[in-house]
Subunit: 196 residues, 2 copies
Amino acid sequence: MPGQRSITEAEKLVEAKLGGTPIQHERMAVVANIYRAASAVRQHLENAVLRSSDLSWTAFVVLWVMWIWGESESRHVAEEAGISKGTLTGVVRTLESRGLVKRAEHPSDGRLLLLSLTDEGEQLMRRVFPAFNAEESFVTAGLDDEACRALANGLRQVVLQVEEHGEERRLALLDGAEPAPRRSGRRRRPRPDDQG
Amino acid sequence: MPGQRSITEAEKLVEAKLGGTPIQHERMAVVANIYRAASAVRQHLENAVLRSSDLSWTAFVVLWVMWIWGESESRHVAEEAGISKGTLTGVVRTLESRGLVKRAEHPSDGRLLLLSLTDEGEQLMRRVFPAFNAEESFVTAGLDDEACRALANGLRQVVLQVEEHGEERRLALLDGAEPAPRRSGRRRRPRPDDQG
DNA sequence: GCCCTATACTTTGGACTCGAACGATTTCGG
DNA sequence: CCGAAATCGTTCGAGTCCAAAGTATAGGGC
């Protein structure tokens, strides 16, 4: 695995590239490894567990949220699953067509959509989740329980830092400027009263 | 941040769902937090640093690889960047159209493609990388240097486990069965002499 | 009842993603 | 010297993903 092995070597090359500028190597290594680990874990779980049930990672996460939390409003499902509402719409469409998920109207608010697993979806999760958890154990087999707790705590610190101070940090960096639209995605429609 | 806060609560609900089956909670928390941290970090870096230079995460990683390693064969760039060859083709097309990357033929092997940064690409990385590293420091600000090293090492263990034993594990799990083709992907073109 | 605003889900546009299939090229075996 | 096998980059199909735009519902003021 040349990628992994090259991290420390890469740091030396970065040093050479930016001799003057001080670089935080430990911090760089943490971020690089978080992303590498996430990719490796996701790929392993997709290949070893999910693909045989024809589930994508995202589809599984969505099912998991509904399984654990029971019938939920779709916005909560999206937030828990860490995807946008727009993405959730498509995922739910797929899962509904496969009979794993059902939709229901909210009794008092017609805007809300309630999502829940079908019986078939329940059965699927009862079957798939133990296999999924077994592979979670496999990918962390190089760590003992104590190291697992430490690792999970360290990662929690990172998540907390971003969630508690990230917004404020972005604002400070951009100094009040607009967040610069992303290149992809739907374009803002030109308004007739805009400056031409 | 309901997602983060709910992890331990979710574990209790999982317990209820699978009372009989033993679940490895620490392992589950590690995997969940790896993915959560990766998403949070990526999103912060995209919003705070990359978007203002109109770069996606993947585009930045590809530029970084070429910047650090210099002119490289495209297959190595894909592997270092952790993306497939097919994805790299598209990313390079975008970056080349923006004048950040140039292609060159390999002098002795006509199959190979050599990639390198243009001067403009070099300038971009000299400008963007320090800002990127500053945000790497920000997202890990909740950890001291020692904790950073520990975290990076723990993640390295996970990556190593998957890279060293993942393939073998997948084979054992599927027990010789075909790896189940992914649902999406290019279909075989019908041949005239196939059974019809 | 009507307007206005806020909120929720859906649709849409564009980039990104994997991995199979494909064409071009090199290397191997004879 | 020629065909087979291997390897490279590219194309293609199906799908994911975000965020802007669009549609529908809810609630307040009058």
